[in-house]
Subunit: 191 residues, 2 copies
Amino acid sequence: MAQPGRPRSEQARRTILAAAAKLVARNGYGELTMEGIATEAGVSKQTIYRWWSTKAEVVLEAVNEGAAEMAAVPDSGSLADDLRLFLRRTVDATTPVNRRLLASLMAAAQLDDQFAKSFRTGFLASRRRELRGMLARAQERGEIAASVDLDQLVEVVYALLWYRILVQHGPLDRRFGRQVADSVLRLSRAA
Amino acid sequence: MAQPGRPRSEQARRTILAAAAKLVARNGYGELTMEGIATEAGVSKQTIYRWWSTKAEVVLEAVNEGAAEMAAVPDSGSLADDLRLFLRRTVDATTPVNRRLLASLMAAAQLDDQFAKSFRTGFLASRRRELRGMLARAQERGEIAASVDLDQLVEVVYALLWYRILVQHGPLDRRFGRQVADSVLRLSRAA
C-alpha cells in the first residue's frame, strides 16, 4: 500500500511491525489499536494508515516476516536432516514472546471471523505450503513412500506445534522438536 | 458445592449447564456472565451461585460432562477397533455448536491465565488420561511396542483434533477420524 512518490521507509516499517507484535504478545490481539501501535512505535497514526488499512494487516505482515526469517525451510537433500533442522529452528524461534504472540492470534481467530480468514488463508496456509514443498522433494527422491499423503504429514507437524503452543502442558524445546521430526519420519514410511 | 438439606435438582443443573454451553458457543467465553446464564436457563442468579462460584466452574462442568458422555473410551480388546470407535464418536460429537464451544474455551485459555489453568489441568488433562488408559491396556496386550511412548501417541490424537477444531481448514468428519486413528496405529509399531 505504499504510495507512489513516497518511498516506504524500511526502518519505520520494521519499527511498526515490531511494536505491533510486542503489543499483541503483551495484551492480546483484541486490545490492539492502530493508535496503540503508533504510540509504541513513536510514529503518527497517519504513517501507519498510509501503509496498512487495518490492524489485522499490520499483525499478519509482522508474523509472516517473522516466520519466513525464523524457520526458512532447509533443502539439504536428506529428509531426516531437513526435518530435524526445520523443527529445531522453529522451536528455537518460539521464544516466550513469540509463543504469546502466536497464541493470541489463534485466540483472535476464534473470536473474529474476518481475522480468522486472513490468518488461515495467509499465515497458516503459507507455513503448511512451505513445509509441504520440502516433503514433496523428499517424496520425489524416494525418501517418503509414494502412498503417503503429504498433507497428513504437514498436519501432524503443525498440529503438534500448535497444541503445545496453546496448551503449554510441556516445554517447546529441542527435545520436543526431535520427537515431532521422528514421528513424521516414521509416518513417512509405507503403511 | 450442593448444600446439605437442599438437594441439587438434577433437572435445573442440566438446564444451567446447557445454557452456559449455548452462550459460550454463541458469543464466546469472554462475554459470558452468571447473569446471562441465569436468564438463558430461566433461573435466578442465586440458584447458580448456590452451586458454582464462578462462570469457569459452570463451563468446565458442562464440557467435562459433555466429553464423558460423547466420547467414552471403548475397551473391546482390540486397539484398532477401540481407536477407530473412539475417534468416530469424538468427531460425531463435535457438532458445529460443540466445535464453537471448544474453540471459544481454547481462545479464553489464551486470554485468561486462571481459566487456562483450570482448562489445562481439568478438562484437557482428563481427556488425555482416559485415552492414555486405553493405550496402556493395548501396550500390555502387546499391541503397542514397548519402546513407544504413550504420551506421544496421546499428543498426536489431541493435537490433530484441536488443530482442525481451531483452524477449520478441513472437515472434522469420520474420514478425518479414520486418518487420525491410522496415524496412531502406525506410530504404535516399533520404530
